[in-house]
C-alpha cells in the first residue's frame, strides 16, 4: 500500500495520533482524500458533490489552528462525508431527489455546525436513496452507489454513499441517517461500523425529515471508537430540535471495560427464514467470540418482531407523507411552470420531481392516514408500537444487550430486488424494530460470506448507548478484517 493510500485507510484515532506526532498535516491528508475520490469515485459514485480545493484549504487551515491553539478535538482534521439529506450552508443538498434541483441551504444542520466548530473537515456530500427511502441506494436520482467489496453489488441503503466512501478510503468518517436501518444495514454490507444512537441524543435540526419519530443521525466509521468519538461531538440537547434530549455521558467512556459477566440475549426471531447460511455462520461464530470474552449468551424470544415490518411500513410512510408535503415547487427546488393554476402546478411538480419509491410511500402514508382507514392502519400500528417497546423493555430487565445479525443477507446484486418493493423492505427486517422502540444499535463487521462482509448488530436499552459500544468494541478487538481494504 502506498503512503497516500495508507493515510486514507487510517481510523480517526490513528490519524489524530499522526497529527500529534507531526507525521502528517491536515492539508496532506485532505489532498490524499481528494486524490482518492478522483481515482475511485467514478466507479463507486459515493459522492454527489465534493467541496472545491479552496474551501478545503480554508477548513484545513482552521483545523491546523485548532491544533496549534491546543483546542484539538477527536475530529479535528478528520475528513468527513456528510449524507446529502443533511443541510450544509452554501453547499447543494439534494436528498438524492430531483425535486430539490437547484436548492442550496442557507443554514447548516446542527450536526454540521458542531463538526465544523470541532475542526472536522467536510469533504463533500454522500449519495443516498431518495429522501433516505431504500435499502440498496438504487433509489437515488443520481445513480446507484457500487459496493467497493464486489462487482455489481449494492452498498445497502439508504446511507449507501456514506458506507461505501468509508469502505473505499474516500472518507475517514461519514454522517448518515437511520430511520429503519439506513446507517447499520449499509455499514454491514460495506464492512464498516455504523452506529445509530438512542433517538433524541442527536439533534435532527437540518436533517431533511423522512419519519420524524424514527429518524436519527449517526456516524459510519472504520472503528467503534471513532463512532463513539463522533457521537460525542454531534450529540446533545439542541434548542432547535424540541425532541433532542438532555443527557450527560461520554459515549466513549466504557470502551475499554471488559464484558465479563454481561448478559446478551439472542432473539430467535432474528434468525429469519431468508437468512443466508454464510451470514448465520458468521453471526454464530461472533457469539462464540463474545462468549469467549466472558459474556453470558442466552437464546431468547421477541415474538412481536414479526410484526415490526408492518408497523414500520405504516408509520414511516405516514410521517413521510406529511413531511414531504412541503415540496411544492414554490419556495425552493424544481418547479413545473405553465400549468393553469397553483394546484395543478404543485401536482405536476411533485409528479415529475419524486421517484417511484417516494411516490409509493407518500401514497401508502396518505392512505393509512385517510378518513376511514386511520384506525385500522395508523392507530393500530401505533398501538403495536407500544407493545414492541414493552417487549424490548421486558427483555432488557433480563439482558444488558441483545445481539442479532444486522442484515439477513450480504450485499446483493444491483437490480435483484427493484421489481418487488416488499422484497426490498425485507432487507431491513433486523434493523427496523430498533427505530420503532427508539433504541441505540450498532453494526460491527463480523466476517465474510462468499467474500462479502457480514455485520453483527448489538442493541441496548434507551440511553444504554455505552453498553452497545462497549460490547461492539470488545468484539472488534478480536477481529482482524475491519480495516482490510477491498481490492479496488
Amino acid at each position: 500500500m502506498t503512503d497516500t493510500l495508507k493515510s486514507t485507510y487510517m481510523s480517526a484515532r490513528e490519524l489524530r495520533a499522526a497529527y500529534e506526532n507531526g507525521e502528517t498535516s491536515v492539508r496532506e491528508v485532505v489532498a490524499a482524500h481528494v486524490g482518492r475520490i478522483r481515482d475511485v469515485d467514478g466507479e463507486i459514485n459515493a459522492y454527489l458533490s465534493v467541496l472545491d480545493e479552496e474551501d478545503l484549504f480554508v477548513q484545513s487551515d482552521a483545523a491546523d489552528a485548532h491544533m496549534r491553539d491546543g483546542n484539538a478535538s477527536p475530529v479535528t482534521g478528520v475528513p468527513f462525508l456528510i449524507k446529502d439529506n443533511i443541510s450544509t450552508t452554501g453547499v447543494r443538498t439534494t436528498a438524492g431527489s430531483r425535486i430539490l434541483d437547484g436548492y442550496t441551504p442557507p443554514f447548516d444542520a446542527t450536526v454540521v455546525s458542531r463538526l465544523k466548530t470541532a475542526g472536522a473537515i467536510v469533504l463533500g456530500k454522500g449519495n443516498l436513496d431518495e429522501f433516505a427511502m431504500g435499502s440498496s441506494n438504487e433509489n437515488s436520482a443520481f445513480g446507484p452507489v457500487i459496493n467497493p467489496w464486489g462487482d455489481n453489488r449494492v452498498p445497502g441503503g439508504s446511507s449507501g454513499g456514506a458506507a461505501a466512501a468509508v469502505a473505499a478510503g474516500e472518507a475517514v468518517v461519514a454522517l448518515g441517517s437511520d430511520t429503519g436501518g439506513s446507517i447499520r444495514q449499509p455499514a454491514s454490507l460495506c464492512g464498516v461500523v455504523g452506529f445509530k444512537p438512542t433517538y433524541g441524543t442527536v439533534s435532527r435540526f437540518g436533517l431533511i425529515a423522512f419519519g420524524s419519530s424514527l429518524d436519527q443521525i449517526g456516524p459510519i466509521a472504520r472503528t467503534v471508537a471513532d463512532c463513539a468519538d463522533t457521537a460525542n461531538v454531534i450529540s446533545g440537547r439542541d434548542p432547535l430540535d424540541s425532541t433532542s434530549l438532555d443527557f450527560d455521558f461520554d459515549f466513549a467512556e466504557r470502551l475499554d471495560r471488559d464484558i465479563t459477566g454481561m448478559k446478551i440475549g439472542v432473539p430467535r426471531e432474528y434468525i429469519v427464514d431468508g437468512i443466508e447460511p454464510g451470514v448465520r455462520a458468521a453471526f454464530e461464530a461472533s457469539l462464540e467470540v463474545l462468549h469467549g470474552l466472558g459474556a453470558h449468551i442466552e437464546e431468547t424470544s421477541l415474538p412481536l418482531t414479526d410484526h415490526a415490518l408492518a408497523v414500520y411500513y405504516i408509520i414511516a410512510p405516514s410521517e413521510a407523507s406529511a413531511n414531504l408535503s412541503r415540496f411544492d415547487g414554490v419556495k425552493y427546488g424544481m418547479s413545473i411552470d405553465g400549468e393553469p393554476n397553483a394546484r395543478e402546478s404543485i401536482e405536476a411538480t411533485r409528479g415529475e420531481g419524486f421517484g417511484a419509491e417516494v411516490k409509493r410511500r407518500i401514497l401508502i402514508g396518505t392512505y393509512a392516514l385517510s378518513a376511514g382507514y386511520y384506525d385500522a392502519y395508523y392507530k393500530k400500528a401505533q398501538q403495536v408500537r407500544t407493545l414492541i417497546r414493552r417487549e424490548f423493555q421486558d427483555a432488557f430487565e433480563t439482558f444488558d444487550a441483545i445481539a442479532t445479525p444486522t442484515s439477513p443477507t450480504v450485499a446483493f446484486e444491483l437490480g435483484a430486488k427493484t421489481q418487488d418493493p416488499f422484497q426490498m423492505y425485507l432487507s431491513d427486517v433486523c434493523t427496523i424494530p430498533i427505530n420503532i422502540a427508539g433504541l441505540p444499535g450498532i453494526s460491527v463487521p463480523c466476517g465474510l460470506s462468499d467474500g462479502l462482509p457480514v455485520g453483527l448488530q448489538i442493541l441496548a436499552p434507551q440511553l444504554g448507548d455505552r453498553t452497545a459500544l462497549q460490547i461492539a468494541h470488545a468484539y472488534e478487538q478480536t477481529a482482524d478484517w475491519q480495516l482490510r481494504p477491498p481490492s479496488l
Partner: protein, 98 residues
Amino acid sequence: MSEEILSEDDVKHIARLAALRISDDEVQTMRRQLSDILAHFQTLAELDTEGVPPTGHTTDAHSVMRDDEDMPALNREQTLANAPFVDGAFVRVRPVID
C-alpha cells in the same frame, strides 16, 4: 394472486389527496404494488390492542416551550434565493383561485 385491496379509483383518489400527478401506467403499477404491501399489513389485525395506548414518540419528551426571544432570521435575499420564480420582493405562483 389475492384479490387486490385497492381499485384504480382508490389509487387516483389517494394521489389527488397527496397532490401527486401520476400517469395511467403508474396507476396500474401502484395499484398492484400498494395492494401487495397493504396485504402484508393485515397481520396486525391478529394482535389484541384493546386498551393499549398508541406510541407517537418513543422518548418521554412532552411539549417543550422556550422563551420567546429575538433570534437572527434569514433576510429577504436569502429567503428568496432558492425560489424558482421570483417577482420583485415576492415568490410568484400560478393563480390560486381560477
